[in-house]
Subunit: 220 residues, 2 copies
DNA sequence: TTTTAATTTTAGATAAATCTAAAAAAAATT
DNA sequence: AATTTTTTTTAGATTTATCTAAAATTAAAA
């Protein structure tokens, strides 16, 4: 199997590629992993030798099919453990990321399959992120960023792209949690502040806060 | 916190000391951890520097109070995860050791306390081993080795001291599982084979098998 | 009690993952 | 197009946990 560290690199490369849709740069990886560019270069060579990434000097990296499927399995583990921690052990959605970060590296396939079954084959984790199935397939997501919608649209919060505890606590205080339905009552022309109505309550949120909220306008 | 490796050393030293009741030798540790005596010596120095063990060259080691309490916490984690794997994920009692061996190193205190609560504060793991409580106390055990009992004694199986899959599978096939009540009908004088009656069925087991079975003659 | 055997420790090497500092390549500016 | 800036890579060290081989110590046997 792959080392703890290799797994973290693959996961980070996968995430960055999903956001940028272009080869991932050394510096970006170093930033995410709190390490130095030189260390990243060393590891990239190793991952390339193992055929987990496509790596050309100075050109950034992409995951090979093998690397991608490994990364997806790690993400699957992470998200299933998050569901377990919230649903079964009653942790808050802002507390589970770091714990899952450790549990995700316990890589014994039957453990994950049984955990999945025990949890009732959940589709999404507590932050609304999709959980890949055992063959690594994601359900097709019909989701939009909250900022992309016009005034007077009704939508359901299905996820967040920022998982830090302060951010999640803030959302929770505002009552903006996964599954909540909201109406965009207005968008302030001066600074773009969003005026929302959620569960009958009027809420204003800045673009900085709205930026990380994913919504669906279907199935309401 | 302590590294994965340090934790494994502490756990092994604790176990060996429990069995031998005397300072643990370098070679014994090396044997249990599948490593070499020289590597063990290196690590012992490190653990001694951290005040987790009492170490005098050539004299073997014992755990300090701090080392002991760390070891007990790791054992607590291991046994709670084993309960989870058997009770919640329906693994067999012979399958859980290696998985728990990995999970036990996820060391975030609230995780373990909540897991304990979720499992209903179990007293023993699937092999009958006592689970220390959060302050590191073991319940006082009233247990005897099956071999120490005379003919015509009635007892309940409360644990096993050998956790290998082949051994546990064998016991399961014989119907000798934790909680079962048994009667020692006879002890063959030639080779000491035990003639048992368990749940109305007659079973013969060798001393080699009986040697790892712990029983209680109380609370029947 | 000397000799032999077993155990333990040192000395010196290796592999994994990291680092700093400097060189090389690519991208952005003038 | 030449220069500056940014990014990435190499070179060489460091740390952690391991190893082999040889030396030191202790225990057992003759």
């Amino acid at each position: 199997m792959h080392s703890f560290t290799e797994e973290n690199y693959l996961k980070v490369i996968f995430h960055l590629f999903q956001v940028q849709k272009m080869p991932v740069q050394t510096n970006a990886i170093a930033g995410k992993l709190n390490t130095r560019a030189a260390s990243v270069t060393d590891m990239l060579k190793k991952l390339a030798d193992k055929k987990l990434i496509n790596y050309i000097r100075y050109q950034g990296v992409t995951l090979t099919e093998q690397g991608k499927s490994t990364a997806i399995q790690i993400i699957r583990r992470h998200r299933l453990w998050e569901v377990f921690l919230v649903e079964k052990l009653n942790f808050g959605w802002d507390e589970v990321h770091d714990i899952a970060e450790e549990l995700e590296h316990v890589g014994y396939q039957p453990l994950i399959e049984r955990l999945d079954k025990f949890l009732g084959y959940p589709k999404r984790d507590p932050h609304g992120d999709l959980i890949p199935d055992s063959s690594g397939e994601f359900e097709i997501a019909v989701q939009t960023g909250l900022l992309e919608l016009p005034e007077n649209t009704r939508a359901i919060i299905i996820g967040v792209t920022e998982h830090s505890s302060p951010y999640l606590k803030h959302l929770e205080k505002l009552g903006l949690t996964i599954g909540e339905s909201l109406l965009i009552e207005g968008i302030t022309s001066y600074d773009g502040t969003l005026e929302l109505n959620c569960a009958g309550k009027k809420i204003s949120i800045s673009r900085k806060v709205a930026q990380h909220i994913l919504v669906s306008t279907k199935n309401q």
